[in-house]
Symmetry: C2
Subunit: 633 residues, 2 copies
């Protein structure tokens, strides 16, 4: 315990004041000092330590709303233990032997004398929770939606203030939340909820601005949904905004595929007339609603508990979801209608989460470098890294970013086509269960070994499998550097589309058909990888560098790809192998970060504003570089 | 013209700068000085005077968006006429002989030398338009919704900024409107509108915060709708927010009357279950939509042109319209769910105006003193008046306010009942065409003369008619001070409900029935007027005054009432007759003021927060004062 001299505690209460012979009776006040903040104040007798702390702007946790049940507001009495009311039964139960070590609960201990209090870090409300998952960069949990527990008295003749103002007043008084408004649907249910809850409710507040929900009693948990709308796959993440945990992940094929497998076909469909635009928008909305419902069912909760969403997607998916005209995306200069981040009401978007929920749409960088790439950038943060980073996000298009802390970031979009997603490949498939994701060829026997996702019989081959197979084929001399298959090799046979390399025979596959790689497949891979390589090279040329310090491979693809093989076939310029990292679906991780952290939203907006877009096709060296990049060397 | 010495004009342009032997070519700049503001700056050659003025923060009018067609940006050249480009054909046409008096159009005249310019008051954009109508207090037109004309260039390879950001950038540059957001439905139509309009559009902006609409070309007019939801009558005013003019007035019987003629019956109906609450809400929404459509049809415009609404109504009407629970309004302490003003999207309220329009709901004062009374107060402004004002708004309830500039305001609600609206009166009717609104009785002959609204055959008698009839009957000795009808008087006959006074015989009425005032009617009037009188007296007692300086009578009733008769029967405490004023539907006028003036909205919020509510029924003198007040003396 500190000494009185150290803590500077003044002994003796401030009493009633004698003025012109009349005693003005005031409730007695006592000096209370808080460590380690050093804040002090005169506090009225009988107030709790929690109230005293709040009055001085010290944010003590009180998850249960000051009912003495959560035990989160534990404090240590440094001096003046007699200055507190006796421990209550609740304190005895929650603190047990800690009582003897001068621990108390701030919400229950009432002040009756001068006091010096130590607040442990874990009792501070703003103590950061750090979220990190898989390969993602850790970040601080600071969602834009927060919950506040309030217990009020019912209106009466002396204080007839109405429900809404009553609630707002309480939020100002207890949590200093000024200028809040209440969303209309909340107003409509407010009186019932307040009365059924005997005026003890938990309030959900968006960005310290708007009340989104009012629930009976003390509610601790808060849920959000992050969504990544890919051209081919839509993924939804149901998140706890209290703990940062992922509660459920649901994915589905983008239902817009009915209107075209690739972006351009869908744009053409949507631009035909308003009815088409509505129909294609409705299909993705229905898809998202299905994902929301499945994810919530899996977590055993009602979709109306979801009070915040974030959304990323490439520029076309972003526009089609918002019902924006995509005509300008179909021709140069490829102008998006809207690039800025925005917050829209779920009800206006026809999403089946809580009708007061906001949906935060991440910004677009430029043209075809969309909100999905912004997600990748906040998830991988090349802009925070001192060395030069090349980030390659491979989806149906390839978005490439180059930069570092000092130089800032440049981005471009490479028309890689869907080969790495398994499309336009004879036995290609998405990186899903049953896909061959890794291939080894014995250089001597040319015997093939492989691994499938899920370890089951192979159904086909996905992007990472193709890359590894090609790398191995080149290594073993089955493929030449210019991509010609060695027809004389024992393992190469003549198929209907020309030479083909057999990975597995029909009797050992799940489909009952041979799994092969054809000469045509190789040409597709050459075009795809050349597009990526050329994009990266042009960015490097613009920055005047010949080598990057690290490479990050993102995309569903990136979860399985073998960095060595990818570099071997020339997917990206050479780099020290230990500095090549595959991080999986970084766009989805970025969407989750933006859901859980307001700071990450702000960073996303900043990046989108500052990243410099480079148009590849107008670069004078583009064609020659592209042709040179088709070689497997 | 001022001399160069006076105006401090520096002669000679600032030219290209010579630095280390290289000439850095800059466009030439010239000093331009504006009077009477005294602002000056270096302006690039070839910029227009309008651009120069905007750059210096001088808000010149340019109603046509700087196209040289409206002639509103007229300026006078004080010095340096040679410093401007030659007058264009447009200037010659619009200015004619004024050109010789050194007049020019700021949007057309381009700078090519130093210049001193005088800006006439009428060319300033912020020149106030003052609105005043009938008995209303004049106020400055400053609607929360404003229109801005912008002409942009289309995106191109050098400047591929997308539609939304392009528009926002232009609004920042030309009008300094920073941080605007674009409402979702506007985003959806933005690309079509911009392209069809060749990037020349008018933008509707709400409160310098949100873009509500984008229209092709230059659009000058802007429309709003103010609505007063009365228990019995709903009135809608279609307004030009550019001129402040009322374009159409539509009224209808409140369709909620199907669920109860009086407030309490409707509250009971609505509180039964959620379905009832939805149904009664839906009926008033349908009613408002009918009014909106009729008013717009009358003015020959589409309802989607209405981009802002204001709404007043008593507390119950307010709650029922918003779908709020009214249970707490049915019993002491009569707590409204929500008292604060709020802005809601028309689409969330299911109103058929522009879906991006906001609806501003005026605040409630307390309990049953609702937003309609706030409307009355901003329309009559007792809080600005040095002498003590008594404001009486008579609808189905009577709201009474007493106060002045220094003492502030007190309010109360008097349960007057609907007698003054013609209900519970044998031949009573609303103040509509065919109602007897004024009555004279010859003291000698006891012959009755009367006037009807619209001057047609009488159908019944309205509140003001009843008041005048009663006053005349007392004066002629047909009624005693305690309200007994003199059965011996020649004009009093015995009817089915006891004695009755005949105003007109059946053969001269529109209904073919006698129009009479019965003894029972007199009792109703006594109760109604006693309620008002008692309310006013209790407020005066609380303030410690025995006399007020003026009385304002509001309400549809207030348009026709004869102040002398009203005072004679003791509707309110005595006051110098010349200071008693009837102002008609002040609540509706207040709603219009709030539509046309942001300052009035703020004043409404301030009044609602500060007016002191007095509960009449708990006053110890209430009963005795009420009984005493039933006398006609």
């Amino acid at each position: 315990m500190r000494s009185a001299a150290n803590s500077g505690l003044r002994i003796g209460p401030a009493r009633g004041v004698l003025t012109f012979g009349c005693i003005i009776v005031r409730r007695m006040k006592h000096e209370v000092l808080f460590h380690p903040s050093g804040k002090r104040g005169q506090v009225e007798e009988r107030k709790t330590v929690l109230e005293a702390a709040r009055g001085l702007g010290i944010g003590l946790r009180s998850d249960c709303g000051g009912k003495g049940t959560c035990g989160k507001c534990r404090i240590m009495i440094e001096q003046g233990e007699g200055g507190l009311s006796s421990p209550t039964e609740k304190e005895r139960r929650l603190l047990g032997s800690q009582l003897a070590s001068h621990c108390r609960l701030a919400c229950t201990a009432a002040i009756q004398g001068p006091l010096s209090v130590m607040v442990p870090r874990e009792s501070l409300a703003d103590e950061a929770i750090v979220v990190a998952e898989g390969e993602g960069i850790p970040f601080e949990l600071s969602p834009v939606v927060r919950k506040y527990h309030v217990a009020m008295t019912a209106p009466n003749a002396e204080d007839p203030t109405g429900d809404a103002q009553r609630l707002l007043n309480e939020l100002v008084e207890v949590y200093h939340l000024k200028g809040l408004e209440i969303d209309q649907p909340v107003l409509q249910k407010l009186p019932e909820v307040l009365r059924e809850a005997a005026w003890d409710v938990t309030v959900t507040v968006w960005d310290s601005k708007q009340v989104l929900d009012v629930e009976q009693g003390y509610v601790n948990d808060s849920y959000g949904m992050a969504v990544d709308i890919g051209t081919t796959t839509v993924v939804g993440y149901l998140m706890s905004m209290r703990t940062g945990q992922t509660l459920a992940i649901e994915s589905m094929t983008n239902p817009q595929i009915a209107y075209g497998a690739d972006v351009m076909t869908r744009i053409v469909y949507a631009t035909k007339d308003d009815e088409n635009r509505r129909r294609i928008r409705r299909s993705i909305v229905d898809g998202l609603n299905a994902i929301i419902q499945k994810a919530c069912a899996e977590a055993g909760m009602a979709p109306s508990k979801v009070v915040e969403m974030t959304l990323v997607g490439n520029t076309a998916m972003h526009h089609l979801f918002l019902g924006l005209n995509t005509e300008s995306l179909a021709r140069a200069p490829f102008v998006p209608i809207m690039q800025e981040p925005c917050d829209l009401k779920a009800r206006d978007l026809m999403l089946v989460v809580n009708q007061c929920a906001n949906v935060h749409i991440l910004p677009i960088e430029a043209g075809f470098v969309g909100a999905d790439n912004v997600g990748v950038l906040i998830a991988t943060q090349p802009q925070q890294y001192p060395g030069l980073t090349l980030v390659i996000d491979i989806g149906t298009n390839g978005e490439i970013v180059l930069g570092d802390k000092d130089a800032g970031l440049m981005c471009c979009s490479a028309a890689a086509g869907p080969a790495f997603e398994g499309a336009h490949i004879k036995c290609g498939m998405m990186a899903a269960t049953g896909a061959i994701a890794g291939v080894r060829i014995n250089p001597g026997t040319r015997e093939v070994s492989y691994r499938t996702i899920g370890g089951i019989r192979p159904q086909g081959i996905c992007g990472s499998g193709i890359i590894e197979a090609v790398a191995q084929m080149v290594k073993c001399g089955i493929l030449s550097g210019d991509g010609r298959m060695n027809a004389d090799a024992r393992c190469v046979r003549s198929g209907e589309d020309g030479p083909e390399f057999v990975l597995e025979r029909a009797d050992k596959t799940a489909t009952g058909r041979d799994i092969v790689i054809t000469q045509k497949d190789i040409r597709e891979v050459q075009l795809a990888k050349a597009a990526i390589y050329t994009g990266a090279s042009i960015l490097m040329k613009r920055l005047g560098v010949e080598k990057v310090d690290r490479v990050i491979l993102a995309g569903a693809f990136g979860s399985y790809v073998d960095p060595e093989s990818a570099m071997a076939i020339g997917l990206f310029p050479r780099c020290d192998l230990e500095n090549v990292k595959a991080v999986g679906n970084a766009a989805g991780y970025g969407a989750r970060m933006a859901l859980l952290s307001k700071a990450m939203r702000m960073e996303a907006a900043r990046i989108a504003r500052t990243v410099k877009y480079v148009e590849l096709t107008t670069d004078p060296d583009f064609e020659s570089m592209f042709i040179a990049s088709t070689r497997f060397t």
